[in-house]
Amino acid sequence: MNVQFKKGVFELCVLALLNEKDCYGYDVSEFLSRHMDISDGTVYPILRRLKAEGLVTTYLSEESGGPPRKYYRITELGRREYTAARREWLDFVKTVRRLLKGEDGNE
């Protein structure tokens, strides 16, 4: 599959996770690599890009007995972007599915 295309989908999935709850980087990496074919290290560049675009922000949280962890939180802009992109994606998938089904029917 096209790499650029996949990248957009990964971003959408990361936003979906962060829309549920704040996570630290490793959480996100585990979540994605459990469900999709993606190398563990690819998540961190995605998170950084989302941060540069203002869709997520980070904060440090001191855990008991350990160095402070960097948490990612979705911003208001991120939420809006996520809602729009989600709808766009679901419509797109619906159309693609319909087209593929049509091809099946012709055979």
């Binding site: 290290g41 961190y44 950084r48 540069a52």
Partner: protein
């Protein structure tokens, strides 16, 4: 490739790609290793599952205009506004930096004064009191100077950090180069932070202990609570 080799290679590749905030990125991968290691994976396997450092480093390069509809383009009005903002903030910034020197001078002055008084006066006309009390007051001034010195260091780091954050934001508005915004709170390494905290705590304890001891000592040697009357300090 083990953890050490992976992180070194990643750092080199990030440098080669002129990516910013390298230490921040490296610490995130370091943490990734730590989590995986505690789950029982060997270092070689973790590194293999991360992807090659060169490929990862390239993914950290954010191409300008890669996603044009998300780009908030700065028009000429915003750019002019930013330049006026610069002029105002430059003045404010000069004051903020000047205060680093003020606090630093206060710390140095307190140190000198404390040392002089403890060593036996000289420049400092001290009121009548036992020599031991004078030494204790000198020591307490030294403790106070330690506190001010730590405060100065924190303040200087803070001023530097807000300048860096502003510069990053400024560049983001005026140019096409995109980077994540910087936090305005300085991030200190664990070692430096612990050391500064240690110095501050010891200084505070020395200051309080010495000043209380001096007071008690003067009470006892004057034979009264209001020793300043006994020694005619204000007459």
């Amino acid at each position: 490739m083990n953890k050490e080799q992976y992180l070194v290679a990643l750092k080199k590749a990030l440098c080669a790609n002129r990516v910013e905030d390298i230490d921040d990125i490296i610490s995130e991968y370091d943490e990734h290793f730590a989590h995986k290691l505690s789950d029982g994976y060997p270092e070689e396997e973790i590194a293999a599952r991360l992807e090659k450092p060169e490929i990862i480093a390239r993914q950290f390069v954010i191409e300008p205009g890669a996603d044009p509809h998300r780009r908030r383009g700065a028009n000429v009005f915003i750019k002019t506004g930013v330049i006026f903002l610069d002029i105002i903030l430059f003045v404010l910034d000069a004051v903020l930096f000047a205060f680093i020197a003020v606090f630093g001078a206060a710390a140095a002055g307190l140190t000198a004064a404390g040392a002089c008084v403890a060593a036996g006066g000289g420049f400092f006309p001290m009121p009548v009191m036992p020599a031991a009390a004078r030494i204790l007051i000198g020591v307490s001034a030294l403790g106070l100077s330690g506190l001010v010195a730590v405060g100065t260091i924190y303040y200087a780091l803070f001023v530097t950090q807000i300048n860096r954050a502003y510069f990053r934001w400024h560049r983001g508005v005026l140019t096409e180069r995109i980077s994540p915004p910087l936090s305005t709170a300085p991030r200190l390494g664990g070692k430096l932070k612990r050391r500064l905290r240690g110095v501050a705590l010891i200084s505070l304890l020395v200051f309080i202990a010495a000043i209380v001891a001096a007071f008690v000592l003067m009470n006892i040697s004057a034979g009264a609570f209001e020793f300043w009357h006994v020694w005619h300090w204000f007459e």
